[in-house]
């Protein structure tokens, strides 16, 4: 029997086979029903073939462990489908609804990095743009402005003065609002419901997309950072030292809780990297090469009282020793 999908199989035949499948499965099926089905199957080779396939579909599902298959196959695709997911998982652990997705628009973005990849590029006007891990941008330069759309992830920008006269403003558009560069070096990082803007040189004006009463644009000076939500920009806080160390290929941290460190390192590594709550509060400091996350993970037991459990190459848990 052929194993390819049946493009030639009449959709009507498939529907009929599906109807028979469910009819005979139900408790109301009679002997007469079974005989009618047998006659239908015998009427044409394609009928028998479709019936066989229906049986195989049923078997394929029967072999799946529901605890795994249901959340995976039922995962949300679009915002509208989150409701469908909630219906499937009435008593779901909180992790399901936070499954990371790469929206289709990111795959078709002008510039995109995969997990663990970083990229430096020069834009048409000489502006230096660096993409962090799993990031995507669209570039839209026109006569009025130089616009970078941040679709996901994080970027580092070193602006160049526009050669055009009069010079066009350089802006970064995000889901939460628009940033305008005022001759500057800064980073923008997209989180679930806000962007984090950190300024290293010059200044950046941040304008939330839907400012509430009393909220408005905020100008961040060098050495300041702020969270921008749809409704509000700021308040400004001091930039965390070495916040842009990723642009130099390292993760430079001081006294960071292990939970946060593992989350940060996990951004650069495909798969799953977790930290056991028992050791989540331990503090870690140092400079770590992002190029080889496995080496970093393997070095953790040398610096801290932890152990590393590899369930598979891309499913790693940092735990207490002897746990």
């Amino acid at each position: 029997m052929s194993a390819e999908p049946l493009d030639a199989l009449d959709e009507a035949v498939a529907l009929r086979a599906a109807e028979w499948f469910f009819l005979l499965q139900s408790a109301d099926a009679t002997e007469a029903d079974r005989q009618r089905c047998a006659r239908w199957r015998a009427a044409h080779p394609s009928h028998a073939q479709a019936w066989e396939r229906a049986q195989r579909v049923g078997q394929a599902f029967a072999q799946l462990p529901p605890g795994i298959a249901l959340p995976v196959l039922g995962r949300a695709r679009r915002r509208a489908a989150v409701r469908a997911l909630a219906l499937l998982l009435v008593a779901a652990p909180a992790g399901w609804l936070a499954v990371r997705q790469t929206p289709a628009r990111d795959w078709l973005a002008d510039h995109r990095t995969a997990t663990g990849e970083r990229q430096a590029l020069a834009l048409a006007d000489g502006t230096q743009l660096q993409l962090d891990t799993a990031s995507a941008v669209d570039i839209e330069f026109d006569s009025a402005q130089r616009l970078i759309h941040l679709r996901s992830g994080a970027i580092h920008i070193q602006t160049a003065p526009d050669v055009q006269v009069p010079p066009r403003p350089l802006r970064v558009a995000t889901a939460q609002g628009t940033l305008q560069a005022l001759g500057t070096r800064f980073t923008v990082r997209q989180e679930a419901d806000h962007v984090l803007v950190a300024v290293f040189e010059g200044a950046v004006q941040a304008r939330p997309a839907a400012p509430g009463a009393g909220a408005g644009a905020l100008v961040l000076q060098a050495g300041q950072q702020a969270r921008i939500t749809r409704g509000q920009a700021g308040p400004p806080a001091p930039v965390e030292p070495q916040a842009d160390s990723w642009t130099r290929g390292v993760l430079h941290v001081r006294d960071m809780p292990l939970r946060d460190f593992v989350a940060e390192l996990g951004r650069y590594r495909p798969g799953v990297l977790r930290c056991d709550p028992a050791v989540a509060g331990l503090r870690i400091s140092g400079v770590f090469q992002l190029r080889d996350t496995t080496a970093v993970i393997d070095s953790l037991p040398l610096a801290l009282p932890v152990a590393v459990a590899y369930r598979s190459r891309y499913w790693v848990v940092v735990t207490a020793p002897d746990s």
Binding site: F22, P65, L88, T102, R112, R311
Partner: protein, 175 residues
């Protein structure tokens, strides 16, 4: 070899020679990754080679008015497939990570299970969310139509229709 297939071969070779390099560059820019781009560029042309005889473009001997537009269309479909497969694999890894140790599948089982899930996911792709949800609740949770109808606030008749619709799709698309 028949003369028709020789014509096809020549036309496809010409398409490849004229456009493979361009397609590779287009994909590289979108994927930010040379290996995926090379694979998808190859897959695009393989799709043409394996196209069923009923394909209109094949029936016209692969004389395309807009070859790059056509190739882009196929490549985008493959991109969407790749995206879906990776999203499923990511969901799968996260699911496994949440399981208590005794329930976790063995390494051998894990690969087989992922393959099975990918096949089903591909077959169900494109079904409207309620149809998919109803089908999965029945097949994986063993819920009866009455229970599913209540949960989705739909009639039992609609649920029955959804089940047939989803199963028919699987019959056609699952290997």
């Amino acid at each position: 070899m028949s003369s028709v297939s020789t014509v096809h071969d020549r036309a496809l070779s010409a398409l490849y020679a004229d456009h493979h390099g361009w397609l590779l560059g287009w994909l590289r820019r979108r994927l930010g990754n040379g290996w995926d781009a090379a694979d998808l560029a190859q897959d695009t042309f393989v799709r043409l080679l394996l196209a069923p005889d009923g394909t209109p473009e094949k029936q016209r001997g692969w004389q395309l008015d807009e070859p790059r537009a056509y190739l882009t269309l196929i490549a985008k479909r493959l991109l969407a497939n790749l995206h879906r497969r990776r999203a499923l694999e990511q969901a799968y890894l996260e699911t496994l990570a949440q399981l208590p140790e005794p329930l976790a599948p063995s390494p051998e089982q894990r690969a087989l299970l992922l393959e099975a899930l990918q096949q089903i996911d591909a077959a169900l792709d494109g079904l409207p969310a309620p149809v998919r949800t109803a089908f999965l609740l029945a097949q994986l949770e063993g819920l009866g139509y009455a229970a599913i109808a209540e949960r989705l606030s739909l009639s039992e008749r609609t649920i029955k229709r959804y089940m047939v619709q989803a199963m028919a799709r699987c019959i056609v698309h699952m290997p």
